[in-house]
Homo-oligomer: 142 residues x 3
């Protein structure tokens, strides 16, 4: 559900770093939804290919996220989410001297499929099965 | 209108595969809108750069789509669309043993230009001309 | 706030071109918001990786933009924006013989952070400080 796109400078992250980031994020979302919903794509942006305010941004991490499975139901949830994400990402961004920016979009739940299946609605038996099995299967409800 | 982004493993698709996928998708959308609205970008995601549920996903195809020209007007249309897309993509995803996931966002019609022209509204004479000529030209209506 | 993604053919733009494009865009947005809100990512799309209407599109520039800090408040503003952008981009697209298409999405203001800070609301003292200092700092209002 969440699809994270992480634009980063060449060589910024080792495979171990990337997996650690992905696992930390999976830890956040995986409390309330199937772990395999969490996709993280890392894309190196070469020199001379990212500009901020008209200047080359060679030490910048830019993150875009699509939230699909859930939308925030209150301002408190939004604040809590970003506070948690800031804390989780700190070792890989601020603590390494990278500037960073992120934004989240919320996209339609019913325009989303995994392995061709529409994911189950929140709180259903189907969703519990997806969480327990950590894989997609046919939905039994409409 | 639709912009398809296909993240795929290195070497997953030949140029012939990619063109065949693009043509199949153009066949779907081209029934009801100009064929040149259909854009498909293929992006190879190198090893150690895509994670699902915190684990490396080396055999995964992740598709994101922006729909601009049309929005779905009913649940039936949504179901029909995904059923058709599943069938069309099967030879390149499931049948090749790739896991896959896709989601669609709907973005504002009036924040979109081609060759600097605002595309015509659905069902207008202008749209018929764009379909017939398969190219963008100045709109004659507001 | 605006994040521009420019998909372009290999070698289409020199570093000087890219910086000039980024600066021109920063000039547009920077009149009404902090200049460092303007992010522009250039991504080369290799041959055989972009299709339009089912055909390879080797001379095509495809731009996607997320607007976060502001949303358009009238049709006049939308028209004015695209008219200005067309004029600004002409030297790098139409005048070089590239076909091109762009679309803008508007994403939620309150799901966006820079350096871990929520950007200030439009017209606040905090925003004036961000503009004057051209950098992110803690917000003093809710």
């Amino acid at each position: 559900m969440p699809l994270w796109n992480v634009y980063h400078p060449p060589g910024a992250y080792s495979p171990e770093d990337k997996q650690a980031i992905a696992q930390a994020l999976t830890g956040v979302y995986g409390r309330i939804m199937p772990k395999f919903y969490v996709g993280v794509v890392f894309q190196e942006i070469p020199a001379h290919s990212f500009y901020v305010g008209g200047e080359p941004a060679e030490r910048f991490v830019r993150i875009t996220v699509d939230h699909i499975a859930r939308s925030f139901q209150s301002d408190e949830r939004k604040l809590g989410f970003f506070k948690l994400i800031n804390k989780i990402l700190a070792p890989w961004v601020a603590d390494r001297g990278f500037d960073w920016e992120m934004h989240v979009d919320e996209t339609p739940f019913d325009l989303w499929t995994i392995q061709g299946h529409f994911p189950p609605k929140e709180g259903t038996e189907d969703e519990k099965r997806w969480m327990a099995e950590n894989r997609a299967s046919a939905r039994t409800h409409a």
